[in-house]
């Protein structure tokens, strides 16, 4: 019974053949060593394939949430309540700061280039420059902050996680979005603030959903 590789393959010819293939064309069998090799060779430790796919997935998730019918109130006088900011909270809480922020950045880029991915089939530069543009541009920032806070306190209980998601998904978003709305609409901060109070209940529901789903996903995939 041969005990090592040389006994089974006495002729080293196949190995010599491999050396004819440039080192950069050799692929490694296991995904992990392939990652490590690629990162070593290109000096690119920024993102591996899985990160890119996750980023694309959560950008798509935010877009898909826009397909749910938006709830309009006040006679359509205001931007409708949509499920899309749930995508912001989930991307941050599930993917973490860097990947979550990039997922929403990707989403905003897709909207900016003219794809109708916002709730109600809106898209294009007009929306980003309009009154609710500040909220949209805040999304990557919010996802980043939520991701940073939630992952830093990964062992926190459900209330703390929920609080952190609410901080990033409501407080930070309004802090960026409301002054923008006040500026673009020439409204004055107090009036813009008054309008936005109507959105808090809906956003709180989304915080609860995001907290439960993110914790469930973390349990199902501990090293996401």
């Amino acid at each position: 019974m041969p005990s090592n590789l040389e006994d089974i393959v006495p002729n080293p010819a196949p190995l010599a053949l491999i050396e004819l293939v440039p080192a950069s064309r050799v692929f490694y069998a296991t995904p992990n060593s392939a990652d490590a090799e690629t990162e070593l060779r290109t000096g690119d430790t920024l993102m591996n394939t899985k990160d890119i796919v996750y980023i694309a997935l959560f950008a798509a998730l935010t877009a898909a949430l826009g397909l749910m019918p938006p709830i309009s109130f006040a006679g359509l006088g205001l931007p409708p309540i949509t499920a899309q900011s749930l995508g912001v909270m989930l991307a941050g809480a599930v993917l973490g700061a860097k990947r979550g922020g990039l997922a929403l950045l990707l989403f905003i880029v897709l909207v900016a280039v003219g794809l109708p991915l916002l709730a109600g089939g809106r898209g294009g530069f007009g929306v980003l420059l309009g009154t609710s543009g500040g909220f949209l541009l805040a999304w990557p920032v919010c996802a980043f902050i939520i991701g940073y806070l939630v992952h830093k306190n990964a062992d926190a209980n459900i209330w703390v996680t929920g609080g952190l998601i609410a901080f990033g998904g409501i407080l930070v978003m309004y802090t960026i979005g409301i002054p923008w709305m006040a500026f673009v609409g020439n409204l004055g901060l107090n009036k813009a603030l008054g309008i936005m109070v109507a959105y808090v209940p809906g956003d709180l529901v989304k915080v609860v959903l995001a907290t439960v789903i993110a914790r469930g996903l973390r349990r199902a995939y501990p090293n996401l």
Partner: protein, 198 residues
């Protein structure tokens, strides 16, 4: 590709996305820096004449601002009440000009061209460690994932309907999220096994 582009052959359609984006940025900034009602009105007239150059019917142009009609009405009412009618007209016209200008870029540029230009422009970021090819991969994956997520949701909803749970948000959202992550893992393995280098 699903997109807001309106086909045409005008000079605005044939321009590359880069200059159009630059013009939009300058135009939008200029609109905010000036404070005169007259200039804003002239700007609107000029932007509408650009729609004529692009041979985009006025109806399409108005469709761009129609979803915002109620916001305009609200802002108009608030401004009129607090600051007088002149400022109210100015604010609403400025907003309309901004949205018409931005929509013109969107209407005359294919999303795919815009993504191509963007990817090319990002080559300059390569020394910073950002790889444009990764960005194109992420863009095409995201666009492909949208209908897939819709399909997964429909399937899960069907399955939960059997259990009488189709109205429970968590009972639907949780399996959708887990299946989506599982799919993402499989796809990233498939991409790597075909020799894609991240």
């Amino acid at each position: 590709m699903l997109d807001l582009y309106t086909p045409g052959t005008s000079i605005l359609h044939r321009m590359t996305p880069g200059p159009k984006m630059a013009a939009l940025a300058i135009g939008a900034t200029a609109l905010f820096l000036q404070g005169s009602l007259l200039i804003t009105a002239v700007a609107i007239a000029f932007i509408l004449s650009l729609y004529a150059v692009a041979r985009i019917p006025l109806k399409t142009a108005l469709n761009q601002i129609r979803p915002l009609f109620w916001i305009f009405a609200l802002f108009f009412a608030v401004q009129w009440y607090f600051s007088g009618i002149e400022l109210a007209v100015y604010v609403v016209l400025r907003l309309a000009a901004l949205i018409l200008l931005a929509s013109l870029v969107t209407l005359t540029t294919r999303s795919s061209d815009m993504i191509d230009s963007l990817t090319r422009a990002l080559v300059f970021l390569k020394p910073l460690g950002l790889n444009p090819e990764k960005i194109s991969l992420a863009i095409s994956l995201a666009l492909r994932f949208i209908p897939v997520l819709g399909r997964i949701t429909a399937e899960v909803r069907e399955a939960q309907k059997v259990r009488g749970l189709e109205r429970s948000v968590i009972a639907v959202a949780m399996p959708v999220a887990i299946r989506a992550i599982k799919m993402a893992d499989e796809i990233s393995d498939a991409i790597e096994s075909r020799g894609y280098r991240s």
